[in-house]
């Protein structure tokens, strides 16, 4: 029983990361129907910028804020200088554009910061642990879960409770109608890209102390986050969160009880099963297509 609880706790921490990544993916998909394959690399760039700022002895919160700002900026610049001029591109074409961006960013990070593994200084220690009964939780895991939940709540408040969030939802539903009503769609898109980038950056900053910082650390979490977003429903932000946590827990439990080697396969198997039962994702809106 304690073993299961231990796996659950581990899964919650990973799930929190997947949920953050998934939120970024869903935000973008909702508004512009673009699957952003560069999400992981934008997040990595933000984390490296934070790392450099930390190296210059800035306080942790400022350095992280700088990293998130950098990630957001990259997203906005990409939108303005690449996506908008290429508005003729089909959806698949836009996906390939994000692939190009992923390659460029990955290469740039490697060229500027080198390829070796680095230690990311984090105020919460990975070795200080708390015991809840028999279950061991490290400070970093706890911090990841708490930060994740805080960020998700903030995002929820933004999207549901503010005028900007209302504008975002309007543009996501029908961009032309929103523009006709006076909502500056371009600015909202830019804001969405910036927000998605910042969320990714936050995920990266939370991931780096746990798995060490290198240019390719987000490859696997990005894939899983993407899959979690799909499982939860690509147009539902709560779905992304739910999908992220479920995926994290499922993976941890499988790895612990059944097999390490097929951990990822089984995670995807779960996702496919969910999709077969509910093709629009767990919390996705059922879309009745008209012919």
């Amino acid at each position: 029983m304690t073993q299961l609880a231990q796996y659950l706790v581990g899964g919650l921490a990973t799930g929190s990361l997947y949920a953050l990544v998934a939120l970024g993916v869903v935000l973008l998909y909702r508004s512009s129907r673009v699957l952003n394959f560069a999400h992981g690399d934008i997040a990595t760039l933000g984390t490296f910028v934070a790392f450099t700022l930390l190296g210059r002895k800035l306080p942790f919160s400022l350095a992280v804020a700088g990293g998130l700002a950098a990630a957001a900026l990259v997203g906005v610049l990409f939108f303005f200088f690449v996506l908008r001029p290429a508005k003729e591109a089909s959806l698949l074409g836009k996906i390939v554009l994000t692939l190009g961006l992923a390659l460029v960013l990955g290469g740039a990070v490697q060229v500027v910061w080198g390829t070796e593994t680095l230690v990311f200084p984090f105020p919460l220690s990975d070795t200080r642990i708390y015991r809840v009964g028999q279950v061991v939780v490290s400070e970093t895991s706890l911090g990841t879960i708490v930060t994740g939940i805080v960020l998700m709540t903030l995002l929820y408040v933004l999207v549901q409770g503010t005028k900007v969030g209302l504008a975002m939802r309007a543009v996501a539903q029908n961009a032309d109608a929103a523009q006709a009503l006076g909502i500056p769609a371009r600015r909202i898109y830019a804001l969405t890209w910036g927000l998605a980038g910042a969320l990714g950056g936050a995920a990266g900053v939370l991931l780096a102390p746990v798995v060490f910082l290198d240019p390719f650390m987000m490859l696997d979490p990005f894939l899983k986050g993407f899959a979690a977003a799909v499982m939860g429903g690509m147009d539902s932000l709560p779905g992304a969160v739910l999908g992220g946590f479920l995926l994290g827990i499922a993976e941890s439990v499988f790895a612990g009880y059944i097999s390490f080697k097929f951990k990822t396969t089984m995670a995807f198997a779960v996702i496919i099963l969910v999709l077969l039962v509910r093709p629009e994702g767990l919390l996705g809106r059922v879309y009745h297509r008209r012919v």
Partner: protein, 399 residues
């Protein structure tokens, strides 16, 4: 269909343009003033630390040799191409290096898949191949066909046997667990440990757990728990630096403290930085003195290449490995003298007996053997340094 015609014509033109005609000297890759060498390594993508480090180390060392006037009046030109660890690109690169750029030899290569994919071409084209950094066991049984291949890289299986032997004999190990990367590197290490355990069964050695992780896995918490459950008193680690550091931190977190042993690939000074306190009192096997052991010649050589290429300071282990790969070859060129041909080089290499370079130690080749080194010794990590623990252990040569 017309589109295709024009496309193909354009392609051929581009291909022809992209290939400058290279004058072929009498001996491929050797002129009176220059020797051309090449390699294909992962310089981008997740395997790039290996390519950047090893390739960078070789390149810096060759530039150091050039700065001293070269060897027998010839300087070196070293061509590196990126293959992103993908076998098809590795093969394409190597073929182009041999046939278009006309290299005298290929120096090293990273990745078993790439080595295997290139092996037939290298053997058939009789190209010199210096220490492809793949499991040495792939050459066993190829005695008649590997005249031009020279390897100075240890075998993981032999190392696994050595680790187990040392653990059982000197560290009183009884219940052994293995944490390994699920690829050829880790699997060979595991095989070595299994053979060692089998050999020392009479002394009570038992393999109680073998826990793996996938190359793309980011976390190893579940594996740490599994290892703790096994109750082993000795843990042998066959991982890469990241996961090696993670596992020792994780098992410290869950309060599991076995005797820790590991392979030379984790003798990277980076481990102290990544794992901090947890990387103390680890027993490691190694085949040459590594940077950080206090060996004067090794440290001087590392300082030399770091001066030439400062980026190598962050990849000291890989860079040192790169130097150790190319050194015996340079010695062979020295011994072959001014009239350098492939055959004379092979004969010269075969005269190398128990030779020490600046990094590598104890290299021997014979007419029948292309396995240059077959010795290891144990070190222990203490307070950020590695200290030598045992004498040379020699294992049988396989090729």
């Amino acid at each position: 269909m017309r589109t295709l015609t024009r496309l193909i014509i354009a392609m051929t033109v581009v291909a022809a343009l992209g290939t400058a005609a290279v004058g072929q000297p009498a001996e491929r890759g050797v002129t009176p003033t220059e020797i051309v060498l090449g390699t294909s390594m992962p310089m981008s993508g997740p395997a790039s630390p290996w390519g950047m480090g090893v390739g960078g180390g070789i390149d810096a060392w060759l530039r150091h040799i050039n700065a001293q006037g070269g060897i027998n009046g010839r300087t070196f030109r070293f061509l590196i191409r990126d293959d992103a660890y993908l076998p098809p690109r590795a093969v394409a690169n190597v073929r182009e290096l041999v046939e278009r750029d006309g290299v005298f030899g290929i120096v090293s290569q990273i990745g078993t898949a790439n080595c295997y994919a290139n092996r037939d071409f290298m053997v058939e084209s009789k190209t010199l191949w210096i220490t492809p950094a793949c499991g040495a066991d792939m050459w066993a049984g190829m005695r008649e066909r590997n005249r031009y291949v020279f390897i100075t890289y240890p075998g993981y299986v032999d190392e696994g046997i050595f680790l187990t032997k040392y653990g059982v004999e000197s560290l009183k190990a009884k219940k052994i667990a293995v944490f390994y990367q699920n690829d050829l590197y880790g699997q060979q290490g595991l095989l070595g440990v299994k053979r060692g355990v089998h050999a020392f069964q009479a002394k009570g050695a038992k393999l109680v757990a073998q826990v793996s992780y996938e190359v793309i896995d980011a976390e190893v918490t579940a594996q740490a728990l599994k290892l703790k459950e096994s109750g082993a008193d000795t843990l042998i680690i066959y991982a890469d630096p990241r996961r090696g550091a993670l596992i020792v931190r994780e098992i410290a977190k869950v309060g599991y403290q076995p005797t820790l042993m590991s392979t030379f690939t984790l003798m990277d000074p980076m481990m102290f930085m990544l794992a901090g306190e947890a990387w103390n009192n680890i027993y490691l096997a190694t085949y040459m003195p590594m940077p950080g052991m206090g060996d004067a010649r090794t440290d001087a050589a590392l300082a030399t290449i770091t001066r030439i290429n400062p980026a190598l300071a962050r990849l000291p282990f890989n860079a040192a490995a790169g130097v150790s790969f190319v050194e015996p070859f340079l010695e062979g060129i020295r011994r072959a003298g001014p009239a350098l041909t492939k055959e004379r080089l092979v004969e010269a290499m075969e005269t190398i007996k128990n030779w020490d370079g600046e990094m590598i130690r104890g290299v021997s080749f014979t007419k029948d053997s292309r396995q240059g080194i077959n010795r290891m010794f144990m070190v222990k990590s203490e307070r950020g340094q590695y200290t030598k623990l045992s004498d040379w252990y020699t294992y049988p040569k396989k090729f």
